[in-house]
Amino acid sequence: MTDTIIAEGLTRVFNGTVRAVDGISFSVHDGEVFGFLGPNGAGKTTTLSMLTAVLGLTAGRATVDGLDVREHPHDLKQRIGLVFQESTADQDLTGRENLVLAAALFGVPLRDTPKRVDDLLGRLALADSADRLVKTYSGGMRRRLELAVGIIHSPHVLFLDEPTLGLDPQGRAGFWKIIGELRKDTGMTVFLTTHYLDEADGMCDRIAIIDHGKIVATGTPSELKDRLGGDVVTVRPLGGDRAALETALKALPGVTSVSPQDGTFRVKCPSGETLIPRIVGAATNLGISLGGVSLRRPSLDEVFLEFTGREFREDEGPTATDRAVFMSRFQDARRGRR
């Protein structure tokens, strides 16, 4: 299997100190959907920006579709499609005018342009509103137009940066249905950043989990879940001898590991349902009251927790990177430069 995207030691440092992406290496196989999963500020969009020649690399090397992103940015932009997280269509133009403009920018042959534009408008359910100004479009329509602009030139590799951000569940499902169909028809490679766990789980052939600029795990969703070693039972004691409880939990049959975390114990086992009564029994024998016992089946949420040591939250506060980038932009704006 050939690799369409290869990243080696990819690094991006802002302001000389903040390592937004910290020496990551990975590869994306031809024709697969590769998901970059992580919370806000983890380095997902920075990585995507470097791979699409929008942002320079501080260190490392990356090739996309055989082209070095540093040496051939212009040729690269011709071959890839890019869907931003925000709407970038010109609101003062109609949907059709935006697509015709994109066709010219990406070099779609002039004679093929009308048919290609009409095909995409039809396929993305925008035909009826094709001649309306984009400023009158709904959020879902703008997302679909954004996708149409991104694939106007039938790219071999499609980059999607949080493509369903702000869409309702129905809109998200519709968007992914279209991506699935396109992929089936064209076999394009898709690189996706998301912080929606269900999206990554359902859509991606392989996933890299990124946190604080580093990749902490890579694999298929199944492989990552398998690495958890089965179910996870979280036990919350309300006091008592925690060390004795940990020892007792480790001694229970079927338990593969016990790890303390934020006042709880995460107990891994093949079957959580049968283990719970034993856990309660062990705690009772030690005279320890339990504040709660919860069972979680293997999920990417658990995978994230396993590899990063913290819960995955979709809307975390600003990270150090966010703050550094914001301050840099704020200072640049004050100085009157970009």
Binding site: L82, L101, L105
Partner: protein, 280 residues
């Protein structure tokens, strides 16, 4: 530069312009206000009527370099000044395109900085030429509705008309380059408009667009001689009122404008390329 990309981007700019008549009206507002208020109120030449005709003519020629009255002299200045006011928005549009993400999309496409800058420059420079002729028409029309109006003293030749168009085009190219460079370099609309105001008024007030040349102190004449607005209005006035009182022919002033336009274009190209390059 790729002709198709450049053409598509220019078409986009022109379409947006046509769909935004408010920008056109705003571009015309300043020159029109000057024409119907300042020009009418300051048309001092009637106050020289006490002079004998030959002395009056000599005084007018010394002050207005061949223009028949102050309003005509001044109106020609306003026609040239449109080349500045009508290009203000090209830079503002870049900032709004940054804020709305449109520029991000274009910059992520195979379009080069030259395509992106060139398209905006052409669209931004063509518009003022049309608007300048609207102001010229209005200035002449005012004379037919009981107000002071522009009165050309000589018949405008084809070459003269071409020189007028060229002068406005060159001034527009220069200021469109300047405002585009600002637009690509600055992110905040407030900063942009503050800078534009800081440029706009001094450029007007250090030019010969408003002042009777003969009434200007020598130091201001020296400053104004190099002002691109002065160079433009001199080309316009020579072709409307004759070149007898001008030290140089219109072609020399056009040469000065070309030098300004080329210099500003070169600076703007460097700044825009830097702004659109992948951030290192």
């Amino acid at each position: 530069m790729n002709a198709r990309r450049w053409g598509a981007l220019t078409r986009r700019e022109l379409l947006k312009l046509l769909r935004n008549p408010a920008a056109i009206v705003t571009s015309l507002m300043l020159p029109i206000l000057y024409l119907v208020l300042f020009g009418q109120g300051f048309n001092f030449t009637s106050s020289l009527s006490y002079l004998p005709p030959n002395e009056r003519t000599a005084a007018l020629n010394a002050l207005l370099l061949g223009a028949p009255n102050y309003f005509s002299y001044f109106a020609a200045g306003m026609v040239g000044f449109v080349g500045v006011t009508a290009t203000l928005f090209v830079g503002a549009n870049v900032i709004f395109d940054k804020l709305f993400g449109t520029l991000k999309r274009t910059a992520a496409s195979p379009a080069t900085a030259t395509d992106i800058f060139g398209a905006r420059l052409v669209a931004g420079s063509l518009q003022p030429v049309g608007l300048a002729f609207l102001v010229l028409g209005l200035a002449i029309l005012l004379g037919h509705v009981g107000l002071s109006g522009l009165q050309p003293s000589i018949g405008v030749t084809v070459v003269g008309a071409v020189e007028i168009v060229l002068s406005i085009l060159l001034l527009s190219l220069m200021f469109a380059s300047l405002f585009l460079a600002l637009g690509f370099t600055i992110d905040q609309p407030q900063t942009y408009f503050a800078l534009v105001n800081a440029i706009n008024l001094p450029v007007l007030l250090t030019s010969a667009a408003l002042y009777p040349w003969g009434a200007m102190p020598t130091w201001l004449q020296n400053v104004a001689s190099y002002n691109p607005v002065t160079l433009t209005v001199e080309v316009i006035r020579i072709n409307l009122f004759g070149g007898t009182f001008y030290p140089q022919p219109a072609l020399v002033y056009l040469g000065g404008l070309i030098a300004w336009a080329v210099a500003m274009f070169a600076i703007a190209t460097l700044l825009v390329r830097r702004a659109l390059a992948p951030k290192v």
